[in-house]
Amino acid sequence: MRIGVITFPGSLDERDAQRAVRLAGATPVALWHGDHDLQKVDAIVLPGGFSYGDYLRAGSIASHAPIMAEVIDAANKGVPVLGICNGFQMLAEARLVPGAHTRNAHQHFIRRDQHLRVENNTTAWTSNFEQGQEIIIPLKNADGRYVADAETIKRIEGNGQVTFRYAELNPNGSMNDIAGVSNERGNVVGLMPHPEHATEPGFGPNTAVAMRSGLDGLKFFTSVIQSTLLANA
């Protein structure tokens, strides 16, 4: 199982994402924004960061990067794609998932260990979670407020495309507390918090058990490994 992680100019978390892929038991493959080659990977991660300085709009210039033509094609064919933070913004700008992002409602850059509720455990990236399970994933962004028009919100709520919701509190004013969404098929998932930062003891979010012990992020990657193995069986 090979999972590609694309580096854009200004990506920050691609090495953490590669490490998370390895810890989950798959082989990470470094991909480059300027190529037109996905190197036959089985799944793709668009990592966090500030691609192109977030100029124009967060994720917008990266959504037009050369490799995104192949990513969009692969996503439409059912290849699992996970967009984390800036990667989620790219997915929205590329119209692979509905909605858009604006500046956090209170303007501040936020970094916190965020409680999330898993709203749909049937996507390629969430199948190892329980439906309704609460997890803790680090959140760190300035442009994290999820918005869409009323009709779109109604549609994605009805379709089960709201994958994660902020629990305990809504940190940025996102509509309906939405933290992550998927496409209709469920192979493309984007979320603002960073699962790759919750995959290794001693380096994860604080939990009720111990400081920096949170490992909930691993299940994103074990989910896609399992769903891919099942799909190819």
């Binding site: 124009l56 929205a92 858009a100 956090n104 303007q107």
Partner: protein, 83 residues
Amino acid sequence: MPIIVVEVMPKAEILDPQGKAVAGALTRLGYTQFSGVRMGKRFELTVDGPITPEILDAVKTIADEILSNAVIEDVVSITELGA
């Protein structure tokens, strides 16, 4: 060389936290005459040669598909600078 100006604003129904922060600062500075501020973007596209209908069509496409995101923003004007 001619310049085409594209102006983009956040949609009226979308919260504009940056405009809100500017409005708050104005009030603190004693400028209490203003009930709100909204903040948008202005792009100036320099054209190499005369502005043709084809170029204006291209600018319209760019404005709708790249310079703005229809989910959160509106293109409010496309004009020629000094025209």
